[in-house]
């Protein structure tokens, strides 16, 4: 028996098929994951992401602590509520986890407060690492296990949420920029997500979560499981920790170079030196997209990528793209890989195009 979120009874009542995910009993789907995927691309769907780990970081050194801990630079957060995607690296430049950090207070006030959301499967090692990195700084790390989190995603997501919240929260949602969140009476409402659609991620007290989930369902928001979450994020070209990157690889070979803030050049962050060396030498591999536009079959994790009859790399995440109607994948391949490759699938080779992710954003094919 795994951990259960406060919404577990709702999942059962809505007919979810439950699977283990990082020690949590979570919904895989509520009937059809492809149908759920389409609902998010076309209307709106909701995901229980209460299993994710929320940690608040406070203290007079909170900012300096995070500037050292993360490869992206929290000094880029210039507005209350703004969010930043980052990697947390080890001393070799490998990715301990990827995360989102929100600035919860106004910038540049003394005693800034940040909120970090990390993956559930990496919770223990993350917390240990974060705690080890405090050293002598004035920083307090406070986990928030009593917060539930619901992601509502899709072109109609904001409108549907607004139809069931107070006028104050409606106007708060109207005022949110992309990648920004705001607090409201114990809730934290952020315009973020993991699907490539507009949407919200809402943290709220556990005791309010069931009622909110129900009222969203009544407003026509489709409950969606981890299956659809995975195909949505794959289409959106978003990495899954533990699959597309882990401690053995750097952001530079994980299509995460954009989350490394090199400037200012005198900012120390853990993993900077090996990353600079790797950048100077030229990374040996890269994380690319693969699209199997013809033929039947599904690209899957672990399949070999072949170029000129030699193994050039491996698929890290693959699957059927419901939006495109064919299989797509993320693959780590040698830097020299060009625009065409083959994949070894069930004893035969199929042709794929090597493309730049994402594959789909806001319901539309976006790669070329």
């Amino acid at each position: 028996m795994g951990n259960k979120t406060v919404l577990y009874p709702q999942h059962l009542a809505m007919g979810a098929k439950i699977v283990d995910f990082g020690g949590w009993d979570m919904p895989l789907h509520y009937g059809s994951q492809v149908e759920e995927h389409h609902r998010v691309r076309r209307e709106s769907g909701m995901f229980d992401v209460s299993h994710m780990t929320v940690v608040d970081i406070t203290g007079s050194d909170a900012r300096e602590y995070l500037r050292r801990l993360l490869c992206n630079d929290v000094a880029r957060l210039k507005q209350k509520g703004k969010a930043l995607y980052s990697g947390m690296l080890n001393e070799q430049g490998g990715v301990i986890d990827d995360l989102i950090v929100y600035l919860m207070t106004e910038p540049d006030v003394s005693g800034e407060w940040y909120r970090v959301v990390v993956n559930c499967a990496t919770r223990e090692k993350d917390l240990r690492w974060m705690s080890d990195q405090v050293m002598k700084m004035d920083v307090a790390l406070t986990e928030q296990p009593d917060l539930a989190m619901i992601a509502i995603q899709g072109p109609e997501a904001l409108q549907r949420v607004k139809s069931v919240v107070s006028p104050y929260r409606q106007s708060l949602i109207d005022g949110l920029a992309i990648f920004q969140g705001q607090e409201s009476e114990g809730w934290f409402i952020a315009r973020t997500g993991y699907t490539g659609e507009d949407g919200l991620e809402i943290m709220l007290p556990e005791e309010e979560a069931e009622a909110f989930w129900q009222v969203l369902a009544e407003a026509g928001v489709a409950p969606c499981g981890l299956g659809a979450r995975d195909t949505l994020r794959l289409e959106a070209g978003m990495n899954l920790y533990g699959q597309d990157m882990d401690e053995t690889v750097s952001p530079l070979v994980s299509n995460m170079g954009w989350v490394v803030a090199w400037e200012p050049s005198d900012r120390f962050f853990v993993g900077r030196a090996p990353l600079e060396a790797e950048r100077a030498a030229g990374p040996a591999s890269k994380l690319v997209g693969l699209a199997m536009e013809t033929g039947k079959g599904v690209l899957r994790h672990g399949q070999s990528v072949i170029v000129d009859d030699a193994v050039a790399g491996e698929i890290t995440s693959g699957g059927f793209s419901p939006t495109l109607g064919y299989a797509v994948a993320l693959a780590r391949v040698s830097s020299a890989t060009g625009a065409e490759a083959e994949v070894e699938m069930r004893g035969k080779r199929v042709s794929v195009r090597v493309v730049r992710p994402p594959f789909v954003r806001q319901g539309q094919k976006v790669y070329s």
Partner: protein, 130 residues
């Protein structure tokens, strides 16, 4: 509990067989199988005229979760394949014993039918696997 119609016969690899009474059978995969697979996205089947032998792999079902071989439960000649699955593989999920059928086979040896599991036998088999 998955649906296991009494009038059909089954094999342990989760295909169902309907005896059409004229020396031919219709074959598909069971409700239990489609439930384990999740949404089916591609089905590859043999062609009309192909000879298949009991136990041969004769096709592949690709679902959101995994690729699975489909085994010929009996020996014979393929006389029809369900072409609707090309455009609508989800029929395997929505109607596994009806519109989601795979192939029709003309049997080489009708005695092979006696080797198949009945509904109770197949239910027990599923139970033993879970």
């Amino acid at each position: 509990m998955s649906n296991i119609p009494n009038e059909l016969r089954y094999v342990a690899s989760h295909e169902w067989i309907r005896d059409e009474g004229d020396g031919t059978v219709t074959i598909g995969i069971t409700d239990h199988a489609q439930d384990l697979l999740g949404d089916v996205v591609f089905v590859e089947l043999p062609e009309v005229g192909d000879q298949v032998s009991a136990g041969d792999d004769m096709g592949v079902v690709e679902s959101v979760k995994a690729a699975s071989d489909v085994y010929a439960p009996l020996t014979g000649e393929v006389i029809a394949v369900n072409e609707d699955l090309e455009e609508s593989p989800e029929l395997v999920n929505s109607d596994p014993y009806g519109d989601g059928w795979f192939i029709r086979l003309r049997l080489s040896d009708a005695d092979e039918l006696t080797d198949l599991l009945d509904a109770d036998g197949y239910a027990e088999h599923c139970e033993s696997e879970s």
